[in-house]
């Protein structure tokens, strides 16, 4: 194992935090949008450098017992040691994740400078404040040494997602989407916090290293209801990583600016759920039934989202469903028992999905529309953008030597080795669909007849440069994986099978959308029931709306009634009786002094009686 320097870990955390504090606290800085952007980008660059140094400089521990890779400080005091700690856990899982988060954040912030160039400066300052806060929150989550800190930053990341999706808060659809994202993920978080607290109640600690130790010694396995606890904790990942049925917020989250989608809803925030499962894997390994659930839900989500992507016409929505689908892949691998494959796909997907989203940003900027059916023929005008986008697409479709091929193969191998045959078939089918819908998008946008009107002027360097850089990183990553990557124990036929599936998907897309040998309408007619359901998103949005209206509003109306008539009623009755009693007692005050003397005399008489009774 390798342990990084905690000091560097703190530096990685501190830089975006400082940037956020500066931009947030100094209004003048925020109002001068460009300056705020520079501050934020600089902080992010510094954090990236620190993360890389931390990773490369990590020392391997070759001998002796495993050492605790975290450095913690006491936060909430308790008797017999602190109840909760904060700190950084810099191990082999956290370090590459830190590099991914800081790298993508840095590129996205640079890209945003050009993408949002006609945003008023105070608004721009607000954007960069949110970006810095998000980076800090995500890094805090990744580096968390225990469940409590992870949960705090989990929620903070959710808040940033809300703020960034609803960045253009004057748009009603954006505001609604932000609230929807927040609420749906909150549903999952209910389970998460319940699970964490139950785990603490059973073990007395939130700390990962301590919990891993308890798992090793068999103490954890003996806890009754551990499956329930781990399932509740998994629910948090269901919400955050958009697994079925809590996936409905991710497509709507595309209302936010495209760089935000690239950062949060492709590479970093949504992967927090996968990261959490990987981080807590020693605990999940003790509950194989929960792992099965994770695998099945993951595979099902992958297939479901892929079908919905095939019928979308908005390019960002296609990419959003694609993200949901790939998250399903990652969860399936983790559920099958191989969390390394899961994290491997997380890292590769983070890069090429961000590339695809940022490329989509360029496309949208050029065509001024999201609708793919109104685009076309872009490759002739912007060949290098097309090449970059194509690199991302090939990576996503799983064509060697691009990294997506290797990481997907790892996942398929893991699922097969875990014995989940049906899930494997679902994932294989999803591969075919993935290749299909991605190349459908490519053919519609870059080739064919030019339906739309492309902008005459060129693409800003910041945007284009970032896309090319990401494409380059993808290619390099693919080369590295070809020659040095860790290949799981996969049956020999697997790579050929996955290449065949991808090739079939590409061919189908080419035939339908490029050569138009097959009419799309006949294709959808052939798969009519699925096509019908997919276009209506399987009615899930309606289910949620109905639940909200009937259950939530109904319950709140009932509670409102109770509050108004019972709770307030009690108080009103009390005050009314006090008033009435006062009114009644008022008649004692006759204003006649002799009546008061009567009162005094009666009192004295009573005292006399009492004295008589108690006298010895």
């Amino acid at each position: 194992m390798r342990i990084g320097s905690p000091a560097l870990g703190l530096l990685v955390l501190a830089l975006p935090a400082a940037s956020f504090l500066l931009i947030g606290v100094i209004p003048a800085l925020r109002r001068a949008g460009r300056v705020a952007a520079v501050v934020s980008v600089a902080a992010m660059g510094g954090a990236l450098a620190a993360a890389v140094v931390m990773w490369q400089g990590a020392r391997p521990i070759l001998e002796g017992p495993p050492r605790n890779p975290s450095a913690t400080w006491s936060w909430i005091p308790g008797d017999g040691g602190p109840m909760a700690t904060v700190g950084v856990m810099v191990d082999e899982l956290a370090m590459p994740m830190c590099v991914l988060v800081t790298f993508i954040s840095f590129l996205v912030q640079v890209y945003s400078y050009a993408y949002l160039h006609d945003e008023p400066p105070p608004s721009l300052g607000r954007y960069y404040a949110y970006q810095s806060l998000f980076a800090f929150s995500m890094l805090g989550l990744v580096l968390a040494p225990g469940f409590l800190q992870m949960f705090v930053f989990w929620e903070l990341v959710g808040v940033c997602s809300y703020l960034l999706i609803g960045f253009w808060y004057n748009k009603p659809s954006a505001a609604r989407a932000a609230v929807k994202a927040f609420w749906i993920t909150k549903l999952g978080d209910l389970g998460f916090v319940a699970g964490i607290v139950m785990l603490w109640a059973a073990t007395g600690t939130f700390d990962f290293w301590t919990l891993f130790g308890l798992a090793d010694t068999g103490v954890l396995a003996a806890i009754p209801g551990l499956s329930m606890i781990m399932f509740l904790i998994y629910l948090g990942a269901v919400g955050k990583s958009a697994q079925f049925p809590l996936h409905v917020w991710l497509p709507d989250a595309m209302e936010g600016p495209t760089p935000v989608s690239a950062l949060i809803h492709a590479a970093t925030m949504v992967t927090a759920g996968v990261y959490m499962v990987a981080r807590a894997f020693p605990l999940f390994a003790l509950t194989p039934d929960v792992l099965s659930v994770i695998a099945w839900v993951g595979a099902f989500t992958a297939l479901l989202a892929a079908t919905m992507a095939c019928v979308e016409s908005d390019i960002k929505r296609v990419l959003a469903y694609s993200t949901v689908s790939q998250l399903g892949y990652m969860m399936a691998a983790a559920g099958a028992g191989d969390h390394h494959a899961s994290v491997g796909h997380l890292l590769t997907h983070g890069v090429f999905k961000a590339l695809l989203f940022l490329g989509a940003g360029v496309i949208i900027h050029v065509f001024h529309t999201n609708d793919m059916f109104r685009m076309g023929g872009l490759f002739a005008r912007l060949p290098w953008t097309g090449v970059a986008f194509l690199v991302g697409t090939l990576a996503l479709a799983g064509i060697p030597p691009f990294p997506g091929f290797f990481s997907k193969e790892g996942i398929l191998a893991a699922v097969l080795n875990g014995g989940f045959r049906v899930a494997f078939v679902m994932l294989a089918l999803t591969s075919l669909l993935t290749a299909f819908y991605m190349f459908r998008a490519v053919f519609l946008v870059f080739f064919g007849r030019a339906h739309g009107h492309a902008e005459a002027h060129g693409v800003p360097l910041a945007m284009d440069g970032v896309c090319r850089l990401l494409a380059g990183v993808t290619v390099v990553h693919g080369v590295v994986l070809t020659f040095g990557g860790h290949h799981g124990e996969a049956p020999a036929w697997l790579p050929w099978a996955s290449m065949l599936l991808a090739g079939t998907g590409i061919a189908l897309a080419w035939a339908t959308y490029q050569r138009e040998a097959i009419a799309p309408s006949r294709l959808s007619a052939a798969l009519a029931p699925i096509d019908y359901l997919a276009r209506r998103r399987y009615g899930l949005d309606g289910v949620y709306a109905g639940l909200y209206r009937i259950v939530l509003l109904g319950v709140s109306r009932a509670i409102g009634w109770v509050d108004r008539y019972l709770v307030d009623g009690v108080l009103n009755v009390l005050s009314a009786s006090a008033l009435r009693a006062g009114d009644g007692l008022r008649h004692l005050q006759t204003g006649q002094a002799q009546d008061y003397v009567y009162g005094v005399a009666v009192g004295v008489l009573l005292l006399l009686v009492w004295a008589h009774l108690t006298a010895p």
């Binding site: 005050q589 006649q592 002799q594 005399a601």
Partner: protein
């Protein structure tokens, strides 16, 4: 006479004075009742001073008499002032403190 005789006498006068305070309609009549009650208290004090050979009782009585005289003076002054304003000193009509 033994001590209880004086004490019972004082109690009787006190009760009669209380009756006067409670039943008289005229404000001056009420003050007369108060006079009787204070008188009874004085008898009590002097009796105890005699039977306990304690001069404090006599001192107390003197103080009480002095205070009573002052109180009567000021009280009647108030009654006269009320009469000037309200043209009546019947206790039934003086109910400004009515709630």
């Amino acid at each position: 006479m033994p001590l209880p005789a004086y004490l019972i006498l004082a109690a009787l006068v006190f009760a009669i004075g209380l009756f006067g305070v409670l039943t008289r309609r005229n404000a001056v009549g009420i003050l007369l009742g108060i006079e009787l009650m204070l008188n009874a208290v004085n008898i009590n004090l002097v009796a105890f001073a005699r039977f306990r050979a304690d001069i404090g009782g006599l001192i107390f009585t003197m103080l009480t008499i002095a205070i009573t005289v002052a109180e009567v003076a000021v009280g009647l002054a108030i009654v006269i002032a009320i009469f000037r304003v309200r043209r009546t000193i019947e206790a039934d009509h003086l109910d400004l403190l009515r709630g």
